[in-house]
Symmetry: C2
Subunit: 213 residues, 2 copies
């Protein structure tokens, strides 16, 4: 005894998503077969719509809404109020949204689309690293200066990725001494307690302490 063919196909497709194993895929598929609120139809049309109405910005690789002028560059990259010589390198779209929410950044972004994983030797090729390098070189050639903020997450993989990018970009400094590479500060988060902070965070908070007159 096995599942009906159409059901098995749906299960197989769900397993293609990141973080969804065969068991959860089956659970999702059965939720569809048992559902009485036409979720299948809504989801099917939402899937088609999202592919029709969105496009990836060819500059920063964010998902953006297609617009009437058929532009392939997002509103952030085009905004005249943004400093186009500062680029923040981030892992994923959700990180970008949160950075924007802070309201304290006025430069551009570059979405890597993931991190370098020590367990997946193919991972650097899946990231938008080549595109990042070319983009930074173009800015340096045009403006003579650039600041690159490495904002990958403070995880082993995020740090590995930041280190990798740093090494790739450093040679550019010979030709363009006004290239600045920085990394988001490490320290205590708001609402955290020293009692529970890990050693690395405490060390960073001490090393990077800020002087008050």
């Amino acid at each position: 005894m096995s599942y009906p063919a159409s059901l098995q196909k749906l299960i197989d497709l769900f397993t293609k998503f990141p973080g969804i194993g065969p068991r959860q895929a089956a659970r999702l598929a059965f939720f569809i077969t048992k559902d009485e609120n036409s979720l299948a139809e809504s989801l099917a049309s939402a899937l088609i719509q999202v592919k029709e109405k969105t496009v990836i910005c060819k500059n920063c690789f964010r998902t953006m809404e297609k617009n009437l002028k058929d532009l392939l560059v997002c509103s952030t990259c085009l905004s005249p109020g943004r400093n186009k010589t500062i680029i923040t390198i981030i892992e994923k779209e959700a990180d970008l949204i949160n950075l924007e929410k802070s309201g304290s950044y006025n430069g551009l972004y570059h979405l890597l689309g993931g991190v370098i994983s020590p367990l997946d030797s193919d991972s650097p090729r899946k990231l938008k690293l080549r595109e990042m390098f070319d983009r930074i070189k173009d800015i340096l050639e045009g403006q003579g200066q650039a600041e690159i903020i490495l904002a990958t997450n403070p995880t082993t993989e995020g740090d590995t990725t930041a280190l990798y990018i740093e090494r790739v970009l450093l040679p550019l400094k010979n030709k363009y001494p006004r290239l600045v590479i920085s990394r988001l500060a490490r320290g205590l988060s708001l609402g955290s307690e020293l009692e529970y902070a890990d050693e690395t965070t405490i060390k960073s908070a001490l090393d990077n302490r800020t002087q008050r007159t």
Copy 2:
């Protein structure tokens, strides 16, 4: 700054699935926008297909393939080789498949579609309990006998559900003394070790020990 409308809609739909929160929903949606293998189209058509080609058996509530004769009862329920006076009550479809794989069962099934949750007072109404009761009564009226095997999982919620069903069915015994209600045996699983077994399992294994000669 927020997500494009079509993307937000897709995220909202993904969160309707069991076990998918807003973060995973966003991750799935971005996987779709970045995907280049037309996964969106395949998934959209698989969703429509599964709703077109499958139907819920009106007897045991399994997902079954629609057939040419437009029958609304599944092949297991119709099979002449199956003992129609034995019904195993199970939580979900994946449990059924595994029970069938064992090859040691020849009766019918009844899918509850979940368990009674102490935290959700509405949960009994979501299950196919009314239908289960009517089905068992029909069998008893027709055949004068029935065995009900309670095969909910050995979890707090599964046990609560089994206990609830037992109480619901017990009054039927007055009229039909040949109604047998049983529960799947508890004991040590194959490959497990006494050293690591929990107390409840050891107690069950002792209480239900089987005599050899």
